[in-house]
């Protein structure tokens, strides 16, 4: 359900984090799952509250914003051709990010399990290796199902 609009993009060429987030948010908008305000709200939030996370295996970002900009819960995925700099959540440290999961979520604790599995993914080296190599949307969705993020 979180990937049923297939906003799944591989090896995108972007110049910085704003460019990456803009492209990904525009795709979510085109899929009809977020409101027109979503993109600006995500960018604003990223500058106030950065969403980069340096795990033991990889630097990722999980941009998101308030639930009122979301029509249907969905996750947009983007793998970058070349890493860009994000700031880390909590301490603003600069980190190198090549994988982005943009979360369009409603305010609900139902999403806890999915979020926990997503964080688990970031700490699972084998799954991250796969994520760095796959090239088709089908393979991506299969991987998300294996991990339990997608039902």
């Amino acid at each position: 359900m979180f990937f049923d609009k297939e906003v799944i993009l591989f090896d995108v060429d972007v110049k910085d984090k704003t460019d990456a987030e803009t492209k990904l948010a525009n795709h979510l908008r085109q899929a009809g799952v977020v409101t027109e305000q979503f993109k600006d709200a995500v960018l604003q939030r990223e500058s106030n509250f950065p969403t980069g996370l340096q795990t033991e295996t990889i630097g990722v970002a999980i941009p998101h914003t308030d639930a009122d900009k979301v029509i249907t819960p969905q996750i947009g995925f983007m793998r970058l051709k070349n890493p860009v700099t994000f700031n880390q959540m909590g301490d603003n440290a600069e980190i190198s990010v090549s994988i982005i999961f943009m979360l369009a979520l409603k305010k609900s604790d139902d999403q806890l399990t999915m979020l926990q599995k997503l964080m688990g993914l970031f700490q699972n080296k084998e799954a991250i290796d796969k994520l760095e190599k796959i090239t088709s949307k089908d393979d991506f969705v299969t991987l998300m199902k294996e991990i339990g993020i997608e039902q």
Binding site: F49, T55, E56, Q88, D91, Q116, Q123
Partner: protein, 95 residues
């Protein structure tokens, strides 16, 4: 009953995650019944840090309250997360 506030930027994603992890930890240790957990966003709670026995944030907080706040980021990355649990237990003085 001790009070624990957990905040992030929006009160939706990462505070929910941090809350889940802390809750499991407290349950495992048999301490959950001593703690009332609450969740919010930093904008609403920034002036209320001292209203709670402990305050965890997954997002950046202003300099003037930094010493009063436990960073919840390790709960998201898994790096050094045991330290966060220790800090919470110590701050709440759980036994």
């Amino acid at each position: 009953m001790k009070t624990l506030m957990i905040v992030c930027g929006s009160g939706i994603a990462t505070s929910t995650l941090a809350e889940g992890k802390i809750k499991s930890y407290l349950e495992d240790k048999g301490l959950a019944s001593q703690v009332k957990m609450m969740k919010g966003n930093i904008a609403e709670q920034v002036n209320h840090v001292d209203d709670y026995d402990a305050f965890v944030s997954t997002t950046i907080v202003p300099e003037n309250i930094r010493d009063h706040v436990i960073s919840g980021v390790p709960l998201l990355t898994g790096v050094n997360q045991d330290k966060v649990f220790e800090q919470i237990v110590e701050k709440l003085d759980l036994k």
